[in-house]
Symmetry: C2
Subunit: 451 residues, 2 copies
C-alpha cells in the first residue's frame, strides 16, 4: 500500500438542496482502507461469478465445521439447509405422479434455485441419469447378473463424469409397466431434482462403451429432447425403428412435462390405449406387435404433430448417442488395437494417473484421434461407440428377438461390458485377458508400449 | 471508491546504499488503483483458503469454456488437467497389486495433492466406498437379483452423501478369492484415488438402513482402521466373531498399506496359508471351518500383535457401524411407526424437499430424535440402524448358515431393502405398501400426518 498521500484539506460544497457537505480531514489510511475494502469486495464478487460459471456443484456440509456460518453475498449458500421461504414443494397441488398435470414448472424451478444458489449452475448444466428394472427377479437365470453388470457400467461412467445416478426398481404407476415405466420415473425424478437441467434416461440393457466421451450439451441448447434417430426414416420411411426411445435426454422444463403427459397418454394408463395400438400398427408397416409402445408413440407424435413438438426434438445421428449392438460388438477388438497404436506414439497418453484426472487424458486422446484416418463414429470407423444398446436381447426376460441367438446376445454383452470395464480398470492397474474373459491381469508399466 | 485525495508532493529519500529514490508525482488514481488491487489480491487469497477449507471437490471441466485458463494463485487448479510435474504414478516401482510393497505412501499422496490442489480437502475428508461381487453369475437363482438391490441401496446412500462408489467384479489376484478378494481391491482403489482420505469397504450383502446418518469421521482422527467389534470379545472371549470384517473403514495411508500386507499374508496368496488356518482354528474355539479367513486373521493380529497395530484400530460398538440382521429386521415396522410419530409433531420434518436438501432435514430429525425416549442405536432402541448386514445368509451362493432358513434370510432382506428404499423414495413421492411388498403408492401431501 502506498503511503505518503497528504491529508486532504477541508473543503465544503453546496448541494442542490442547500445542504452543506463537509469533507472532513480523515487520515489517508482510512481512505486507503476504504479503497482496499472496495477492491476486496469487487474482487470477491467477480471471483464468485466467474468461479460459479466454471464450477460444478459445490455442496458444502456444515457438519464439517462446528459453528454455523451465515450466508453472505460473497459465500453462496454454504449450507445445504432448506431456507424457510416457500417453494413448489409446499404447494399441495404439485404432484410427483405422471397423471397429475403441473404448470409453471420453469418458474417453480427458477424460484427453487434462487433459494438454493449453490445449485445455480451458471452455465454448467447438471445431468441426472435415470435407469431401472423390474421389482422382482428376472425370468432369465442370468438376467439379473447382466442387469447388475450394466448397472455397474453406468455407475462407472457417472463416477468418472460427476453425473448423479438414480436406479429405480419400483413401478411408480400400477399399469405403466415395461417400457412405459420410464415416464413416471422421469417425471418423479424431475421434481425430486429441480437442480438438474437434464434427465438422461438410459435403458437397463444399454452400456457406456466410451468412458471418456461427454454429451455435447451445447449442441442441444435449442432443444428439449434428444434421441438417436434419422429424419428420413421418420418422415419418409415412417418406420417404428426410425429412432430409439431406450436412451433419451430430456430437459427439466415445462415443455417436457407437457410432452411426457401427451406421450404417456398413449400408454396403458390411458382409456385410449388400445386405440393407440391400432393407430400405430396402421401407421408403421414394420411394427409387428399390436400394443401401443413408447417408441412408436414418439415417432407417431413427430409424424402427426411435428409443428407442436418437432422443433424441440433433436434426432441425433452424428455419434452413437445410442448404438445398435449388432453393428458394434464385432469391431471392438479392432478398436482396442487402433487406440493402442495411437497410444504407443504418445507417451503422455500412456502416463498413469488418478481416476479423477481422467478428463484431461480423455481430451488429450481425443485430440490425437482427430488426426487419425478412420477414427470416426459409426459402422465404418473405429471410434469407440459412446453407448452400445442391446435392443432385442431382453436380458431380463430372456425373450430375445428370434433373429438373434441367446448366445450371440450373451457374447455381445460380454464383449461390450469387458471393453468398457477395461477403460475403467486401467486406472486401477488391470485389464481383461480378452473381451470374452472375466479374468483380469495387472497392466505392465507404460502400457500399452510393452507387448 | 473515495475520491478527493490530493496529489502527493514530490519528495525524495536517501536509502542506505545511497541511491536516491524519488517519489514521482503519480496521479492519486494510480495509487488508489494499487491499493484497490492490493485489496483485491488479499481478498482473493483469503477467500480461496477459506472456501477450500469449506468446500468439497470442485472439479472443473474446461470443455465448459472455449479458451484455456492458466492457473494462478487466486484460481486453484481450475482444470482437471494433469500437471507435467512427476507423481508417484510415473515411478515404475509403484504397483497397484497387493503383492508388491509400497513405501513412503503418505509423502507420495501429499505430493500428488500438492500438484492437484482442488483435491486438497482442507479439513473435509473424502471417502471412497468400495464393494463388489464375483465375476460370474450367482449359483442362487435369486442371488444376482439380491446383489442388484444391495448395489442400488449403496448407490442411493452414496448419491445422498456425495461419496464416490466403486463396484468391482473382477478378481484382482488369482487366488485371493471370496472374502480375501477385498484386500487387493482396496489396495488398487487407494492408488487409483489418492484424493480419497478413507476407503470404506462394504460387503455386497450389507445395506444402508439409515439413509441420513453420516460416519463420525472426527471420532476416528487418531485411528486408521474402524470395524464393528467389542474389545472384551476380542481380548477375553477370543471369539472369531468379536468383530466383523465385512464392513471396514481404512485410512488411505502407509500404515494401512503395511497392515493390509500383513493381513493379506494370512490369505491364499501366502505360502503359509494352511498354517494360518490351523493357528486360527487353534486360537478361536468358536471357529468352525479350517481355512484361514480374513476376519479371524484380523482378530488374530489384534490378539498377537496388539502393540504393533492395536492402537490404530477402532472397535466401534456405539452404533450399528455394521449391524447383525437377525436382531434388526423384526424391529423395522416399529421404527417406522416411532419415526412417523415424531414427524407428526414437527411440521418442518414433513416438509417435502429436493433430494439434494436432505442433509438439513436429516439433522433436523436427528435433533428431534435426541429428545425421545428409546431413540437409541442397538437392540433395545428404535433408532434406525445405520448398516444391516446379512451375515450368514450368503445370497449369491445360497449356502446360508444352517441356523437360518433361506426364507428368513430372503424375508429379512426384503424388509431391510424396502425400509431403506422408503427413505429414498420419499423424495420421489412414493413409499412401499408394506415392508414385504415390491408395490409402491404415492405419498399423500404432508405425509405422515394424514392416515
Amino acid at each position: 500500500m502506498m503511503s505518503g498521500t497528504e491529508p486532504s484539506s477541508p473543503s465544503s460544497a453546496r448541494t442542490s438542496k442547500g445542504l452543506m457537505t463537509r469533507r472532513s480531514s480523515k487520515p489517508s489510511l482510512f481512505s486507503d482502507g476504504l479503497v482496499f475494502a472496495g477492491g476486496a469486495g469487487v474482487a470477491l464478487l467477480v471471483f464468485w461469478v466467474v468461479s460459479s460459471f466454471f464450477s460444478r456443484v459445490t455442496v458444502v456440509d456444515p457438519s464439517a465445521f462446528p459453528f454455523s456460518v451465515s450466508s453472505s453475498a460473497a459465500f453462496p449458500d454454504l449450507h445445504d439447509r432448506d431456507p424457510p421461504g416457500a417453494t413448489f414443494y409446499d404447494d399441495p397441488s404439485v404432484s410427483y405422479t405422471i397423471d397429475r398435470s403441473l404448470t409453471h414448472w420453469d418458474a417453480k424451478r427458477r424460484d427453487w434455485i434462487r433459494l438454493h444458489p449453490a445449485f445455480g449452475g451458471y452455465g454448467r448444466e447438471r445431468v441426472l441419469m435415470v435407469t431401472g428394472s423390474q421389482p422382482g427377479p428376472c425370468r432369465n437365470p442370468v438376467g439379473d447378473h447382466l442387469l447388475l453388470r450394466f448397472f455397474k457400467n453406468k455407475v462407472d461412467y457417472c463416477r468418472r463424469h460427476g453425473i448423479e445416478l438414480f436406479y429405480n426398481n419400483a413401478l411408480l404407476h400400477p399399469v405403466m409397466n415395461t417400457f412405459w415405466a420410464k415416464l413416471p420415473m422421469v417425471r418423479a425424478a424431475m421434481l425430486a431434482h429441480p437442480e438438474a437441467d437434464w434427465v438422461w434416461w438410459v435403458d437397463s440393457d444399454a452400456a457406456f462403451t466410451d468412458m471418456d466421451f461427454e454429451l455435447p450439451l451445447d449442441r442441444y441448447r435449442d432443444h428439449n429432447l434428444v434421441v438417436h434417430g434419422w429424419p428420413h426414416l421418420v418422415y419418409e420411411t415412417r418406420s417404428w425403428v426410425s429412432l430409439n426411445a431406450g436412451v433419451f435426454l430430456i430437459r427439466n422444463c415445462q415443455w417436457s412435462l407437457d410432452f411426457m403427459a401427451v406421450w404417456a397418454a398413449m400408454g396403458p394408463m390411458s382409456p385410449d390405449y388400445y386405440r393407440w395400438g391400432q393407430l400405430q400398427k396402421a401407421e408403421f408397416k414394420d411394427k409387428v406387435f399390436n400394443e401401443s409402445d413408447d417408441q412408436s408413440a414418439l415417432v407417431y407424435l413427430l409424424l402427426k404433430h411435428k409443428d407442436r413438438w418437432g422443433d424441440k426434438i433433436f434426432l441425433e445421428s452424428d455419434y452413437y448417442f445410442e448404438g445398435y449392438w449388432l453393428e458394434i460388438v464385432g469391431r471392438l477388438e479392432n478398436m482396442t488395437a487402433k487406440y493402442a497404436a495411437v497410444e504407443r506414439q504418445v507417451q503422455g497418453l500412456r502416463r498413469r494417473h488418478a481416476e479423477v484426472a481422467n478428463g484431461a487424458y480423455g481430451r488429450l486422446r481425443d485430440g490425437h484421434l482427430s488426426g487419425e484416418d478412420g477414427a470416426v463414429s459409426g459402422p465404418n470407423g473405429w471410434r469407440r461407440p459412446f453407448v452400445t444398446h442391446f435392443t432385442g436381447c431382453q436380458p431380463c426376460s430372456g425373450d430375445h428377438n428370434k433373429m438373434y441367438s441367446g448366445e450371440s446376445c450373451w457374447e455381445g454383452m460380454q464383449r461390450a461390458l469387458h471393453f468398457a470395464d477395461d477403460q475403467v480398470l486401467r486406472d486401477y492397474g488391470f485389464r481383461h485377458a480378452d473381451l470374452l474373459s472375466g479374468d483380469v491381469q495387472p497392466l505392465p508399466f507404460d502400457y500399452p508400449s510393452t507387448a
